[in-house]
Amino acid sequence: MELNEFIFKAVLLIVIFTISLVVAMYSTYGERKIAAFMQDRLGPNRAGIYGLLQPVADGVKMFMKEEIIPLASNKGIFILGPSIAMFTACMTSAVIPWGGTLTISGKEYSMQVSDLNIGILYVFAMISVGVYGIMLGGWASNNKYSLLSAIRAASQMISYELAMGLAIIALIMANGSLSLADIVNHQKNGLWNILVQPLGFLIFLVTAFAETNRAPFDLPECETELIGGYHTEYSSMKLGFYLFAEYINMFVSSAVISTLYFGGYHMPFIESMGLSANAVTLLGSAFLFIKILFFIFVFMWVRWTLPRFRYDQLMNLGWKVLVPLAILNIIITGAAILLF
């Protein structure tokens, strides 16, 4: 890799990292505002204009809190838990294609940090490692509730990752590649994968909720049963990392959903507008961000609408409904490929 490209990728990486952190930060604000609006309240509006400084105030509060590590906990693993959660949450965004190609002084640069030919598998690997953060943290706390929560998180992950993987297999069959860039380019003609794989999308969406531990599948941090779940014993910024990792995960999940099923950075009718190539790329990236923000909104919208599943219902849904449906989806896709 030559120097220019290296510098471009480094800058892109930093920009994406910053954007995902800022989006996650303001997701906490958005979450509270959306929750309030849906409950006919106003939400945070005292810190700054429209309460826009609320995430800063929350961050300062988190840092100021006393740091408590329980005496009976396993200190090393206790610290490792939130670190893994945060680390894996930030890792996934590297393979997502954030835009087409930018032409700078006659050279083309791809707006994707790294175009792995097994991009989807990388995303899966990172999501799978992410649950270790919750599991280790819950286990190391030496607290019954945290342990139960860790067990719940682990079994929920395993159950739903299966259905998610099967839903993706059908998608890969329809697109013929594991690379995220190829999947996006395959949807270039405006035929988004949601139209090709509606059932697969539905399964993927439901499992994405479960994988990010969001309501209605937020059993690992179910307050009514488990106090705070895996982060019961955590305080100060370690707790902040857990909560923040959830929002980064939400952002990345939204990005993955937009990329896989909603055409990524492709904007319909943009070719006919007669803009320069760079403008098309940047507009496409902006459009991708609109899609991502919409899905973040959907995540929150669902959270403040639906009640939490009971644990047996969660397992029933995962194993008896989603997995058979995903297999059915694969069969239908295979038959369609064979016939047409």
Binding site: M38, D40, W301, T305
Partner: protein, 189 residues
């Protein structure tokens, strides 16, 4: 038995239909409701800046009125304390000395007049019982405090200031004045 109000419903435990069992229509319906509320007018009142209008006859913090010459009306008859259901009012009477005519309207006055705002239930019986139009409840609220002792309001907090009169004319409706003059009640005679 047939229900008269028609409000009760017979509970059934039927098996869910296919549409019900896949949840999706119900989920979409629920999300439509939350989205509708998203755009609805909010119920919040921005409290310190925005305050809800109080009723003119709201029963809040008491006031001990002065007469038009700035003399205390209360004669420490004790009828308010006697009528008070939670016994929140207590007072010590004293005799007016010569030269204090500009302070107290009658020959007897309350040297100490205390209302325990934690006991008070703001029923307004003291106001009804007062034969001298001295005590009134107002539309002001009792502020929060850190100590229990601070809720025992003495004359320093209850008696209105001559330069800052508390208007109670809103609550002296026709019916109230008629009640005050009704000779059937002992304290009006």
């Amino acid at each position: 038995m047939k229900s008269l109000s028609n409000k009760s419903k017979v509970v059934t435990n039927n098996k869910m239909t296919f549409l019900e069992s896949i949840y999706l229509p119900a989920i979409i319906k629920g999300m439509a409701i939350t989205l509708k509320h998203f755009f609805m007018r909010k119920a919040s009142v921005q409290y310190p800046e925005q305050q809800r209008p109080m009723s003119p006859v709201a029963r809040g913090l008491h006031v001990l009125k002065l007469d038009d010459q700035g003399r205390e009306r209360c004669t420490a008859c004790g009828l308010c304390a006697l009528s008070c259901p939670p016994e929140a009012i207590t007072m010590v009477a004293a005799e007016r000395k010569p030269g204090e005519e500009n302070l107290y309207r009658e020959e007897k006055y309350a040297a100490v007049f205390e209302i325990n705002m934690l006991r008070c239930i703001f029923c307004g019986d003291c106001e009804d019982a007062c034969p001298k139009e001295a005590i009134f409840l107002t539309d002001r609220l009792v502020p929060t405090e850190y100590e229990r002792e601070s809720f025992i309001y003495g004359k320093d907090k209850l008696v209105e200031k001559t330069e800052n009169r508390i208007d109670v004319t809103k609550r002296q409706t026709k019916e109230v004045l008629a009640f005050k003059k009704n000779k059937r009640y002992k304290h009006n005679r």
